[in-house]
């Protein structure tokens, strides 16, 4: 069967197309059900969790009155959900042990934007054992790390009587894994597990008559991991003041707001921009699932459920006036919806942004900050660059941090003053942070990760190693929230790359490698010394990413031979040497390990290297 046969077979295989004239209405209904704002039928999982109070929209006077809940919570984010992973213990042989006392469903705050995903405010107690058993019953899988964003994003924390807690988190395409591990055993079907947890919570809440009674929900833009929240389940409304204060709205105003929202006629998709970090209005289900609304303009709001953004309005002007009044004399945390001024796009130089290349090539340099001088806020974007090539500088992310780049300045300004008694000036610069401001101003802050670890020049601040560890996750979160894979063809082979390698400032896991090239000089010196760059066949990239190399720190390789530059999906590079000991097959080698392709791939490997000089 050749390729044409296959194309023909595909076309011949498909049965006659169905009549799709009625499908549009079905899709429209489904679209509305997916989003807050439709006149939804009660369905899906979230509906199963709603208490009867949530369906009392027209007569909202009993929202928190009857029956009196026997279990309540007042904070959207329980303490244990704030940062559960660092203190978590690993699973035991890939399973959650029995004997759990409580289970928490948590969200996450490092979403790459102002958005803070929240789970549930109350723990599962009676059903904790069932939650553990349900996880252990999930099918084990190898996990898939290379998928596109998925709408699942939650963490489960399981508490034990001895004070130990363990955590599960969503990985890649919707599998679950031990939150303390990176590439351990995965469990399939994170969506199905979430559904099971929701059912367990619903059953327990039905017994305890749980209600969320807190109103302190204006200090972040909260969204529930149980997205989408059904409009019919919303039961409360909280107005947010300019100072972040919160005021629960009267029942009649809440009813009017929710009635207009559930009418669904003015809800559309949209690409609103974050203008203010805090919301103007927060809607809540009776059990505390939040929807944070930001005012874009008078009578027009938008919200982000962590997967998409929606716009609501213009609403009735009289209703808007009542909301504004409830927010207080200073209104809400305006301005919102104001797009940040855009800066010209930064060109690239291979796998390095132009600004980083300028630094690494010495065309521009950092200026030292004066003692205790702070880096200004208000940057539009931030870049992370490696140092000059001569000092074996790494390669920073290709893209700037454009999601709340002020976090970079804040992180620098929060660093301690230096205490240089125990170190010398030796050590060298290791990376640079570049901040671009709307007026075209550019500040470059240098930092070292070794020795004195100074930041901003000698005498300003210290803590460069920790700063880098704090900054890299900002880029990671931005990529997770809005991935922009790097697919351009770039020239990476050069004398510099051969000398110092192209290696990312941050870690590039071998399992994340997506593509690569092989660089080498012509085998015959008579053919010149120009670099030859060849794309590494996909089979070899896959094999390298999945290989089990042999630990070997002998690290003997010369600078004149061939080398591989491999990249993950964002263009973060890592360089491996190609060596060929006498009488042996060509190997791939780092300072830590050596690996030789297996017999099945050896012909392809040899063909890939054909005509290149190996030393």
């Amino acid at each position: 069967m050749n390729d044409n046969d296959l194309s023909d077979a595909f076309r011949a295989a498909v049965p006659p197309r169905p009549d799709t004239r009625e499908w549009a209405e079905g899709a429209r209904r489904k679209a509305r059900r997916r989003r807050v704002g439709g006149t939804f039928a009660a369905l899906l999982l979230v509906a199963a969790m709603a208490t009867p109070l949530a369906f009392n929209l027209p007569g909202r006077s009993t929202v928190l009155a009857t029956p009196s809940p026997t279990a309540t919570a007042t904070r959207l984010v329980p303490d244990i959900c704030k940062d559960p992973v660092p203190s978590a213990s690993p699973l035991v042989d890939g399973d959650l042990p029995d004997g759990a006392t409580r289970v928490w469903l948590c969200g996450r705050s490092d979403t790459g934007s102002e958005l803070e995903l929240v789970g549930l405010p109350d723990p599962l107690v009676e059903g904790a054992g069932q939650a553990v058993a349900a996880f252990n019953a999930l099918e084990k899988s190898e996990g898939v790390l290379d998928c596109l964003p998925n709408p699942l994003d939650y963490t489960v924390v399981v508490e034990y009587p001895d004070g130990v807690h363990r955590a599960l988190r969503i990985a890649g395409c919707g599998d679950l894994r031990d939150a303390t591990g990176m590439f351990d055993i995965f469990r399939a079907d994170g969506a199905g597990y979430l559904a099971e947890l929701q059912a367990l919570w619903a059953a327990e809440r039905a017994q305890t008559e749980f209600a969320f009674t807190g109103a302190d929900v204006c200090d972040a833009s909260y969204s529930s991991v149980l997205r989408p929240i059904e409009a019919d389940d919303l039961a409360r409304a909280v107005a947010c003041g300019a100072d972040g204060s919160a005021a629960e709205l009267e029942d009649d105003l809440t009813s009017d707001i929710l009635a207009e929202l559930t009418a669904g006629t003015s809800v559309t998709g949209g690409d609103a921009l974050w203008g203010a970090p805090l919301p103007d209005l927060v809607l809540l289900t009776a059990t505390g699932d939040p929807v944070a609304l930001h005012r874009e303009s008078e009578g027009v709001y938008w919200w982000d459920d962590g997967y998409a953004r929606f716009r609501w309005g213009p609403i009735d002007p009289a209703l808007e006036a009542r909301i504004l009044e409830a927010q207080g004399p200073d209104g809400g945390p305006t301005p919102t919806g104001t797009p940040m001024p855009s800066l010209p796009e930064e060109p690239r130089a291979g796998l390095v942004s132009q600004v980083c290349d300028d630094i690494q090539s010495g065309r521009i340099a950092a200026e030292d900050l004066a003692d205790t001088e702070e880096v200004p806020q208000g940057a539009t974007r931030a870049w992370l660059c490696g140092d000059r090539w001569e000092t074996f500088g790494g390669v920073g992310p290709l893209e700037p941090l454009s999601t709340d780049p002020d976090r970079v300045a804040a992180a620098i300004n929060a660093l301690p003053s230096p205490d240089y008694e125990a170190c010398t000036e030796m050590g060298g610069i290791t990376y640079h942070v570049v901040l671009d401001y709307p007026d075209g101003d550019r500040r470059i802050v240098s930092a070292e990760t070794v020795n004195c670890e100074w930041v901003g020049g000698w005498g300003n601040r210290a803590g460069g190693a920790q700063l880098l560890q704090d900054l890299l996750p900002l880029w990671a979160a931005q990529r997770e929230a809005a991935p922009e894979p790097f697919v351009e063809e770039v020239d990476v082979c050069s004398d510099t790359a051969a000398l110092v390698g192209l290696n990312s400032l941050g870690p590039v896991e071998r399992g994340s490698l997506y593509r690569g090239v092989v660089c080498g000089h012509p085998a015959d010196a008579a053919d010149g010394e120009d670099w030859i760059q060849r794309e590494l066949p996909g089979d070899l990239v896959l094999a390298i990413s999945q290989a089990q190399p042999v630990p070997d720190q002998s690290g003997v390789f010369t600078q004149g031979g061939a080398y591989l530059v491999l990249m993950n999906q964002f263009g973060d590079p890592v360089t491996y040497a190609v060596t060929q000991p006498a009488g042996e097959s060509p190997q791939i080698r780092t300072w830590e390990w050596v690996w030789t392709p297996g017999a099945d791939l050896m012909p392809l490997w040899v063909e890939t290297l054909a005509g290149l000089r190996l030393e």
């Binding site: 295989a13 049965p15 593509r515």
Partner: protein, 170 residues
């Protein structure tokens, strides 16, 4: 397949009536089941519905719908009751049974043994006739990965007993 059919703008309903069948055909090759194919198309349409008015014409919107459909299928369409898929680069050991004989059942059975990403890449390459670069962009994966999946997928199909010709078996 005629991807060059001009679809004029005429509202979401008109678009779906005109092009829903072609979307379904691709979805059928992905899912191997008429009802699941309809579910997949409906899911993609419902996810893109709110954006319809932002596109200048239906052709641009269709590109967006198709992208959504393929990504939906690849990334999180995990109804395990459909079939016992293994989310890895290796084909499952045993294909799930597909009971009802239908036109093209052999190809359907053969495709059902492939991992989702591999199946998706093959459908894009050989049903939609998209070049490697376009497949890579649509699925946000490198071209090398596309090439690898095509290579492995074709090899698996050629080995598949569901597609073996009498000469292959002799």
């Amino acid at each position: 397949m005629d991807r060059a059919v001009e679809v004029t703008a005429g509202g979401f309903d008109r678009y779906v009536a005109a092009r829903g069948g072609e979307l379904w055909a691709a979805a059928w090759l992905l899912t191997g089941d008429a009802q699941h194919a309809e579910d997949l198309v409906q899911t993609a349409l419902s996810k893109t519905y709110w954006r319809y008015d932002t596109f200048v014409n239906d052709r641009h919107f269709e590109a967006y719908v198709r992208t959504t459909m393929y990504r939906t299928f690849v990334s999180w369409w995990r109804r395990l009751q459909w079939r016992s898929e293994v989310p890895s680069d290796s084909p499952p050991d045993t294909p799930s049974p597909l009971e009802d004989p239908a036109p093209g059942a052999d190809l359907r059975r053969a495709l059902a043994t492939l991992p989702r990403l591999q199946r998706t890449v093959l459908v894009l390459r050989y049903f939609e006739d998209r070049p490697t670069r376009e497949v890579a962009e649509l699925l946000d994966i490198p071209e090398g990965t596309v090439t690898s999946h095509v290579s492995r997928g074709l090899a698996a199909l050629r080995r598949s007993p569901h597609l073996a010709t009498p000469e292959d078996q002799s």
